[in-house]
């Protein structure tokens, strides 16, 4: 079996597994800005035009073009792309903060696009909430009132609201700051308020639009840890937008890469690194430390007749970095085994190729 076969195999397998329990399901989604935008997705000719041509011909920008995917319950789904690739537009379409131009969107099996204002409000009040790049906090309210805002518009009484707000403030580690105003807090703390506000109504899905881009690197790392911890503790489904690949790899179960509004590749981190769909993705993942992302199944080879097959055994999903010592110390190639079946072997050469790549700074 070749690596690409593995990739396909696994991809198909996962798609099937997810389809049953998908929380968000998107098909053929378009968002076009400009005059007579609705004509673009419907016209076979206009659909094919590139960004520049479309703008010149119609004055429209297609910020999201023909995007489709499923997000499984409890999954962290990351959308990634360069600036202007349509990530924010996509996530705003998902919550219908802006109206999609064409396509289908299901939320827990219900047609999102058919929801009227009232239903939509109910969804926003109870089912999902969002964290924003520039926080979007209300400067005239104290932290506790910012966090309780969603409950307030929902009509929850003051005592209950305060109690719940206090609870999530503790959860995001802001205890003691509830009486402060947003501008008295650091950027990182402000985003914790944004996070607490999103969590307060106990939604099923959390949307993040580049929540940490405005923070400096150290605080960003803290906040990423925070999200990982929260995900572990509260187990919410998350749709996370970022333009930072290392953030995507750190947080994402699966990653969708966009360019000019189009989907370029959708897969797990090791799939993107191990089998980039095109040069754009290859470029994207070039600087990633491959050893940290790739697993053994991406570097193993079929055994040759002269290979000794009595070396140590490892699973196919062991990360290369973790296997390095063991492979190099063993004097025989390591066998990659899953359910007692021999998938392939990994020798010093395979490991060293990855390590060398990393050290040459490529």
């Amino acid at each position: 079996m070749t690596t690409s076969q593995v990739h396909e195999e696994r991809g198909r397998h996962e798609d099937e597994a997810l389809a049953g329990e998908s929380v968000i399901s998107v098909r053929g989604l378009w968002k076009v800005f400009g005059p007579r935008a609705a004509a673009v997705p419907n016209s076979p000719k206009l659909r094919e035009l590139g960004r520049r041509d479309l703008l010149d011909r119609t004055g429209c920008t297609a910020a999201v073009r023909d995007v489709g995917f499923d997000v499984a319950g409890g999954e962290v789904f990351v959308v990634m792309g360069l600036s202007g690739s349509g990530k924010s537009t996509l996530v705003r379409c998902l919550t219908r903060l802006i109206e999609p131009t064409a396509g289908e969107m299901l939320f827990e099996g219900d047609d999102m696009l058919a929801a009227n204002h009232k239903q939509l409000r109910e969804l926003r009040r109870n089912k999902f909430s969002m964290v924003f790049q520039h926080f979007g906090l209300l400067p005239h309210r104290r932290v506790i009132d910012n966090v309780g805002y969603g409950l307030e518009v929902k009509g929850v009484g003051k005592t209950e609201r305060t109690r719940r707000a206090q609870e999530v403030i503790e959860l995001v580690g802001l205890g003691g700051n509830e009486k402060s105003y947003p501008d008295q807090l650091s950027g990182g703390m402000q985003q914790r308020v944004g996070l607490a506000r999103a969590l307060a109504a106990d939604p099923d899905v959390l949307f993040f639009d580049e929540p940490f881009s405005a923070l400096d690197p150290l605080i960003r790392r803290d906040m990423q840890q925070e999200v990982i911890r929260l995900h572990r503790e509260v187990g919410k489904t998350m749709v996370f937008i970022t333009h930072d690949l290392s953030e995507a790899l750190k947080l994402g179960d699966r990653i969708l890469i966009m360019r000019d509004g189009e989907m370029v590749q959708l897969g797990t981190g090791d799939e993107l690194v191990g089998a980039p769909a095109d040069d754009y993705i290859r470029d994207f993942v070039r600087d990633v430390p491959h050893g940290d992302v790739l697993t053994l199944k991406w570097i193993m080879r079929d055994p040759r007749p002269d290979d000794p097959l009595d070396g140590p055994e490892l699973g196919p999903d062991v990360v290369v970095r973790e296997a390095t010592r063991q492979v190099l110390q063993a004097d025989k190639p390591v066998k990659v085994v899953s359910d007692g079946e021999l998938l392939g072997i990994v020798g010093d050469d395979e490991i060293l190729a990855i390590v060398a790549r990393q050290e040459s700074g490529a």
Partner: protein
């Protein structure tokens, strides 16, 4: 023609613009020498044209049918009634005898106590003390009732204005379409010289408080509409989205996010509206609005400088109180603030209760005892102020008469007279041709068409000569404004230190009602055209200076550095880099300067400017001149529209990249 050639012709043609204008002026001078005195369309002081008589008739017939015509019966009269009732009610609270009692509902002590408490609530204790001291000072000046009348009219106009303006502003903030619709209307409301709509308003709402209040609210509403819309528009997109994403209804987003976040800007708008209202209320004395304005106008008309000064001082005191209170309120309304210290927080409640009790006691006293109801006359300092001013004026006149008379005479003889002679004695068609030609050269064909229409209508008003006299004064005042604007503007633009010193003076000048300027100049120069011009210059300069300053400051520091690095002297940097690059600011300053000068024409009419301003004033007071006054008002608007379009077209041209 290739674009390169095109650019060449444009650049070679550009410097000739000035030459063209000079050429036109030269031709005019020569033609004037030959043709002067012919076709000048004169009209005697008591003479009326058909239009004027027709307007008189309209006025009479409206007067006769006021209570039978359905439009009046069911529209204008009802508005008048409501506004009248409301204004009268506020007056009975503050200034006029209430119901059966000989005093208003609140005697002076009550007003002082309540004002102090309210100021404490919306602003802070310091401002509250200032307001109370200011009010007492007004009483000491012997102008309590007049001040309270002015205050009552201002408050009622502002309240009614806010009732409409804030919803309109919110709407304009939320809807691009409505914003596009209302912006030109607001522009028009603000550029129209204020006095001009006084006369037509009296046609519909009679002379009296209702017309005064309506005139005031028309003039005063635009700033708060604009600033409300601006405040709503500047709320960060993120905040609105966050609110929506949490499932807020539109109303919730408006009341919980947009309005609180825009509060500070809205209060700033209320501040500007308040100041504009105060200025207008004093001016509305021309149509019989009670209060300080009347005191000042009467004194100006009898050249009683001492009384005019006392009244003007009271207006200034009132302006300072209103300005400080609303400014402090807006500072307090900033979207967030550091939590108050524990001590202050603990003091807050007792202060609130204590203040409330004190205010209540003040009100009770003022309704029970005469000394607390009517401001005691025996502690008055007003007459001292009047006498001191008179003495000072006499002294200045005695000692500087030579100087001030010389200055006045020299300026009149060398600047005002020749310009006026040129405009007034030229045949009307010659002046029209010159103005149209200049519109084409500095502006556009479109501006020239507007000029032509305005000029034709001006001839139609029958007040051509008066219009030319006024135009001469307006042009001269504008030139002086621009000289001041450029000199001070460049200086302030280049030196932050100068800016820090001068800007507060300009701010103060802008918050002061225009009447007040007149007093000292009247004392120095008596009722002459010169006085009127100076008053207009003082009124219009701050705007022009500020715009030029901003323009100079807007020139990028790198460009200036590059000029300095290539060895330019300061003078060269200013004339070759900074001024040319702020061309747009200069034309804008000219435009605004003109508008401001024009809006002082009627005030000038009170102090010897004659011409259109005088006709408007006379129209208010003498029945048979009503139509002529109205026509004069229209003529002022026509001059305004013409000059505004011309300078705006010039500004647009300056905008075009070279």
């Amino acid at each position: 023609m290739s674009t390169a050639q095109l650019r060449d012709t444009i650049t070679t043609r550009r410097p000739s613009k000035g030459a063209l204008v000079a050429g036109i002026l030269a031709v005019w001078l020569v033609a004037w020498l030959v043709l002067r005195g012919t076709h000048t369309l004169p009209l005697g002081a008591a003479q009326l044209t058909g239009l004027h008589e027709w307007l008189n008739d309209v006025n009479d017939s409206i007067g006769a049918n006021r209570n039978s015509n359905p439009l009046f019966l069911y529209f204008f009269n009802i508005i008048r009634l409501i506004v009248d009732e409301f204004t009268t009610f506020i007056q009975t609270v503050l200034s006029e005898p209430a119901f059966d009692s000989p005093i208003p509902m609140l005697g002076w002590l009550g007003v002082v106590a309540v004002a102090g408490y309210v100021c404490y609530l919306v602003a802070n204790i310091r401002v509250a003390l200032l307001a109370m001291a200011g009010l007492v000072f007004l009483g000491l000046q012997g102008l309590w009732t007049e001040s309270m009348d002015t205050l009552a009219l201002t408050i009622s106009a502002v309240l009614i204005a806010l009732l409409f303006a804030i919803p309109l502003g919110v709407w304009a903030g939320l809807s691009d379409r409505f914003n596009r619709l209302i912006t030109p209307v607001l522009d028009f409301m603000q550029t129209m010289p204020t006095f001009v709509y006084l006369a037509p308003l009296t046609l519909f709402f009679l002379i009296g408080p209702a017309s005064a209040t309506i005139a005031t609210l028309i003039y005063a509403a635009p700033p708060v509409i604009r600033l409300t819309a601006h405040g709503i528009r500047s709320v960060p997109r993120d905040m609105v989205e966050a609110s929506e994403s949490l499932g807020s209804t539109r109303r919730q987003t408006l009341t919980k996010v947009l309005l609180p976040a825009a509060k500070r800007t809205i209060v700033l708008g209320i501040n500007q509206t308040m100041m504009a209202a105060l200025a207008m209320v004093t001016i509305a004395a021309l149509i019989d609005a009670p209060g300080l304005g009347k005191t000042v106008i009467k004194a100006l008309q009898t050249q009683d400088v001492g009384t005019a000064f006392n009244g003007g001082l009271a207006i200034v005191v009132l302006a300072i109180i209103l300005d400080r209170v609303t400014t402090a309120a807006s500072a307090k309304a900033r979207p967030s603030h550091t939590a108050p210290s524990r001590g202050a927080a603990m003091l807050r409640l007792p202060m609130l209760i204590g203040g409330g009790v004190l205010a209540a006691i003040g009100v009770w006293l003022s309704r029970t005892y005469v000394w607390a109801a009517e401001f005691p006359a025996d502690v008055e300092i007003g007459s001292t102020i009047v006498r001191a001013t008179d003495t000072a004026t006499e002294w200045v006149k005695d000692n500087f008469a030579a100087l001030t008379t010389d200055l006045k005479d020299v300026v009149s003889a060398t600047l005002i007279d020749p310009l006026q002679a040129l405009l007034v004695q030229s045949p009307w068609w010659l002046v029209a041709a010159v103005i149209i030609a200049i519109s084409v050269v500095i502006g556009s064909i479109r501006a020239a068409v507007v000029s032509a229409v305005c000029l034709a209508l001006l001839v139609g008003t029958g007040l051509w000569q008066d219009a030319m006299t006024t135009l001469a004064q307006v042009l001269l005042a504008t030139v002086i404004v621009m000289v001041l604007g450029i000199v001070l503007g460049v200086w302030m633009g280049r030196s932050p230190r100068v800016d820090r010193v001068v800007r507060p003076v300009l701010d103060a000048g802008q918050t002061m009602p225009p009447f007040v300027y007149l007093v000292p100049f009247l004392a120095l120069f008596e009722a002459t055209r010169f006085t009127a011009i100076i008053a207009a210059v003082v009124y219009a300069s701050p705007v022009a200076i500020k715009i030029v300053t901003d323009g100079i400051r807007g020139v990028s520091a790198t460009t200036v550095e590059a000029a300095t690095a290539s060895g330019s002297s300061t003078w060269q940097t200013i004339t070759k880099v900074q001024l040319p690059m702020s061309r747009r600011a200069l034309t804008l300053a000219t435009n605004q300067g003109l508008i401001y000068v024009l809006s002082m024409v009627v005030v000038g009419g009170l102090v010897g400017a004659g011409a259109l301003g005088y006709q408007v004033v006379a129209g208010f007071s003498q029945g048979q001149l009503y139509g002529k006054g109205l026509a004069a008002g229209i003529a002022i608007v026509l001059l305004g529209v013409m000059l505004d379009r011309m300078t705006q077209a010039a500004a647009k041209r300056a905008d075009r990249p070279s």
